[in-house]
Amino acid sequence: MNSRERILGRVRRALAKAPADETPIVRDYLREHGQRTVAETVELLAENLADYRALVHRTDAAGLPVLIAGLLDERGAASVLVPPGLDEEWLAATGVTRVTDRAESTPDELDRVSSVVTACAVAIAETGTIVLDGSPDQGRRRITLVPDHHICVVRVPGQVVSSVPQGLERLDPARPLTWISGPSATSDIELDRVEGVHGPRTLEVILVGED
């Protein structure tokens, strides 16, 4: 008997006397917490992002290229990683060297890039979370991990949901997902939170108003 059969057999014997449990799960918990207008939900997102030490900026489509260029300048970025499907316009105002997200790049090469700019799939207001799903405007998972500076653009209010349940509804589990709530952090020293370990230590989130 192989271990698969052995384990499944043990499970079945363990449960032989237990009555079947096919009652549907009661989901009487909230779909979202509190009642907010769309604008208030965006405001909550900004607050919660900032609460976990993300730097939050706001602009509109016209102001976005200049804002991104400014943030890269302030950072002193020498190079920026660019996902293949990123809106060309976003980087129109910056002269920083672009590094394309390619499968062939080695981790060491990525480690030498200063910054990365991506879009996101959805943002969750109640938890201050942005979720990336590897779409062409977000790129491979590692490009938002190895560089120390991540600029993420969220289209508001279209990409913003209130809650975790609403966020999951919008996401495709078949895609590799990265949920990001603030910069990398740890609670491993005396159970107190400190920002900045292995992931990007600076997370800037730009909320771009949709016209």
Partner: protein
Amino acid sequence: MSGTYLGMPAFADAAREAVGNTTLRGNLRHATHTIRAKRAKAVTEVSDWAELREAGKRIKDHTLRHLDRYLVRLEESVTAAGGVVHWAADADEANEIVTQLVKMTGETEVVKVKSMATQEIGLNEALEAEGIHAYETDLAELIVQLGKDRPSHILVPAIHRNRGEIRDIFAREMSEWGRPAPEGLTDSPAELAEAARLHLREKFLRAKVGISGANFMVAETGTLVVVESEGNGRMCLTLPETLISVVGIEKIVPTWQDLEVFLQTLPRSSTAERMNPYTSTWTGTTDQDGPGAFHLVLLDNGRTDTLADEVGRQALRCIRCSACLNVCPVYERAGGHAYGSVYPGPIGAILSPQLRGTGSEIDASLPYASSLCGACYEVCPVAIDIPEVLVHLRERVVQGGEVTREGNKVVLRPAKGHAAERAAMRAARWAFTHAGALRTGQRVASRTRRFHPRTLPGPGRAWSGTRDLPPVPAEPFRDWWQRTRGGKDGDR
């Protein structure tokens, strides 16, 4: 790590040492009290906590009841998404599978995401024996590994260390393992985190094999979920070419939607955050993004035996948040090492004796490592009634009975060392079902009270070593009641 725990002294003996260690007491008190208050606040923020807790419990119970169905479903989904599923009945088999998988890559180094399952099976030691070095990348695990120490907490394995001790370990040991600690490293947590970043980065960047556990596995989609803070998880899950995940079979949830419950309750219960910094989900392999090879090792190692116990199986609902450790007054004073297992604290006290059986001295003592105060049950996000299971396991220890070990039903004999207690309990039962006998005993105690010492010799020192005995009154209540007809004949 499992080997390290063999021959551990029973809980009370190990705890005695910890209680006397003032640095350890201070470290644990500081850390647990910090997180306790924060967790309470994070939980109050969501008005539907009770409903989320109940739903979490129900989802887990339903899954466990039909675990065979969901395991098969998960295997199909993972396979369809490009992953390879392996089944391991015990620790040895899991270690063997992982070792072979690593050997097939030709690599002699692996990077690891913090994982309870791989600690439980002693994977690092098994790999080392085959010439494969496993590098722990979680900050606390790194502290433990560099310090040649044992983990003492589920979430924060180095909780027993304060910042000064961590600084010393880094300064002393990092050079042995790779990049040395920066000159003049202080004990500021930010600097310590920076030192870990620099030390581990070279390992991440060259790693070809990553090893992880998982917090959840979604049966319908084949998705695995890792919840973390530092980004070391993301490094291990995305940079290597091969990813091997070793996951206990109880970590399944049926549907994608079920995550909406646990992704709300887990971060708030463990690090007291609305959401942890990073959560990664992956389904099989993705073309040109992340590891090209993904292996899932499904681990039993005592879980099906636990499942066979009607009362004890609720322990398998555990999502390893560690809220029960943080709130436990016994854990706070005894420390994690006293539990002699990678699973310390209240959950460890009910998990270890079920996964490993109650055969060893330490496992037989764990069900008693609790005052049954109930704080653990109160904070558990999946409502595991830990006191109920503790008492159930005490019964197993003292009275024996039928249990399942490695899939077979066996009848346990009552544990040794409880004979006197058993006799006392029987005698007390007899006296308590014969009120006259009780009364005689009380009267004898009252009449001889002048001669009662305030401290006791022998085993009685367990009480009177630190506490005075209460004086025995001149007469028991029942004599007063009878004499005065309940005070109607005057109080005297």
